[in-house]
């Protein structure tokens, strides 16, 4: 889900640009502390690898196929902070060279995929990678990274005032769910093939500070799931009424009043309320991510 320019309303893209800049700056700092600076080329090569790996199709049946999205695989091989930096770079190249995602919307895409997506891929691996649930954790990382990206993107579009009816939302979430399952399956299959070649390519995360991370994980999953429920419940409940009334009013206004801008004043308040709720959610997620970054950095220093 690469959001192009022109889709998000100004408060949404501006706030997400700000959130993305602050998190990427802090993640880049902790990556620089973590890795030897002469290993920077390797991060670029891994980014190019994710690009190229997307050219390899995985058959799903019924003549269709999917491909690797990559954040969970990066997390397992590079660690979370470096993965976020690599994902950010991939998104920059996609937006600039391939017109895949907008430039003003780059903050939103970076926030969804490089920050929240990587975090969602990392948390299960962080918590369960040591025990018997290791495979499950890798699968869940792939699954959650796709679901949280989809949930955030849909929420941002809804907050920006793009109307999607319940059937459209239902079908898209069905598709996202299938894609997420596929990403989990692909990630685990690729990790298995890597381990059979060279086990030290797959990194085991440290297992200190479990409770903090577990609560962060719970918070992130809750936010991802309930954020969307709220976002999708709102336009279906409140706004559908306003929308019904609005359509007839709209038609009248086109004939009577050329000042089309002012006709939506009533709906404007609902919009501001929703935008406010969305921004609070974004602020909470940002603080969570910054705290996590601080935590990782401190652990590395110790």
């Amino acid at each position: 889900m690469h959001i192009p320019d022109g889709f998000l309303s100004t408060p949404v893209w501006a706030a997400l640009d700000l959130a993305a800049v602050t998190s990427v700056v802090s993640l880049a700092r902790s990556t620089q502390r973590e890795i030897d600076s002469s290993r920077i080329p390797a991060l670029g090569v891994m980014g190019a690898f994710v690009f190229a790996a997307q050219m390899i199709n995985f058959p799903v049946g019924f003549g269709t196929s999917g491909h690797l999205l990559g954040s969970a695989l990066l997390v397992v091989t590079l660690g979370p902070a470096a993965s976020a930096v690599v994902m950010t770079s991939i998104l920059v190249v996609q937006a600039l060279i391939f017109q895949d995602g907008g430039v003003l919307a780059l903050g939103a895409n970076v926030f969804n995929m490089a920050v929240a997506g990587v975090l969602a891929a990392y948390l299960p691996y962080r918590i369960w990678s040591a025990g018997a649930f290791r495979n499950m954790a890798i699968f869940l990382g792939g699954f959650l990274s796709v679901m949280s990206v989809a949930a955030l993107a849909v929420a941002e579009l809804l907050v920006s005032g793009i109307r999607m009816g319940t059937p459209v939302l239902g079908v898209s979430f069905g598709l996202f769910f299938v894609n997420a399952l596929l990403e989990g399956a692909i990630t685990i299959a690729v990790v298995k093939s890597l381990e059979s070649m060279r086990p030290d390519w797959v990194r085991a995360p440290d297992s200190s500070g479990r409770t903090v991370l577990a609560s962060l994980a719970a918070a992130a999953i809750l936010l991802a799931v309930f954020g969307v429920l709220f976002a999708s419940a709102d336009p279906d409940g409140l706004e559908k009424l306003a929308e019904r009334a609005g359509i007839s009013g709209h038609a009248r206004n086109l004939i009577v009043a050329p000042l089309a801008d002012y006709e939506l004043q009533g709906a404007g308040w609902a919009w501001i309320r929703k935008a406010g709720a969305g921004l609070v959610g974004v602020a909470i997620l940002t603080v969570a991510v910054l705290l996590l970054g601080r935590l990782i950095a401190r652990r590395k220093d110790a």
Binding site: L43, V45, G102
Partner: protein, 241 residues
């Protein structure tokens, strides 16, 4: 491949190619923000913005049709959402989604296709992008050409060995595909190690000894002034007209 064409275009010479990259980035930001904040879906505003873009493309000497067609890569995504908006009765939104996303894509493509990526990224760094991200973007871009070619070779090789499987899914079996990604990872990793060793031997310490960007000159400022004036004229014209 798409990125090869863009790379070739960016190394030509013209009035637009010659402009200072930071100036072009700022002009791009002004244009994108104007488009994003233009209310509603006014056909007059859209044609005004398009006229500004077409004038710039003609000045750059790039093929007009080629640039406009390549930017259309954004349209399938926009069109899907436009149909959804249109079905829910919001025709204005539908038109705005298609118009705004396409105009923005043309503007980004124009700047990227007239600025070699290493200069573009230098300008991003000068405007505050973290150095690590800038470096990783440059390395990613450099090895994108190499590693995607390798993936292409592997795909062709797999198609040659198992032609019947490819007809159905455009690929190979699931586990074989996972193995292929694993092998691609191994080759990329080996390549990264080789690059690391040879760069280390040549004294790479995590920083390129690049020549600093020249400060913008008078023609650059004139370009920025003109670009901003035209863009804002369209943007303000919408409100009045």
């Amino acid at each position: 491949m798409h990125h090869v064409v863009i790379d070739r275009w960016s190394r030509r010479a013209s009035l637009i190619h010659a402009r200072e990259p930071r100036i072009k980035l700022i002009a791009l930001a002004i244009f994108l923000i104007s488009v994003a904040t233009t209310p509603g879906a006014s056909a007059a505003a859209a044609s005004g913005y398009l006229a500004v873009l077409i004038a710039a493309i003609l000045l750059s000497g790039l093929p007009l049709g080629g640039v406009l067609a390549r930017a259309a890569a954004v349209l399938p995504f926009s069109a899907a959402f436009a149909v959804v908006s249109w079905l829910s009765g919001d025709t204005q939104r539908a038109a705005a989604l298609i118009g705004k996303s396409y105009l923005s894509a043309v503007a980004v493509l124009l700047v990227v296709a007239t600025t070699p990526l290493e200069r573009f990224v230098r300008a991003m760094e000068a405007l505050g992008t973290p150095r690590l991200v800038a470096l990783v973007v440059l390395f990613l871009y450099r090895y994108l050409f190499v590693i995607s070619e390798q993936a292409q070779h592997m795909r062709v090789a797999a198609a040659c060995r198992a032609p019947r499987r490819t007809r159905l899914s455009g690929g190979i079996g699931f586990r074989a595909a996972a193995g292929a990604v694993g092998v691609l990872f191994a080759r990329s990793y080996a390549r990264a190690e080789g690059i690391h060793r040879s760069m280390f031997a040549r004294g790479f310490e995590g920083r390129f000894p690049t020549v600093a960007l020249d400060p913008p000159r008078l023609p650059d400022f004139l370009f920025l002034l003109l670009a901003a004036a035209l863009t804002l004229a369209v943007r303000i014209g919408v409100r009045i007209g």
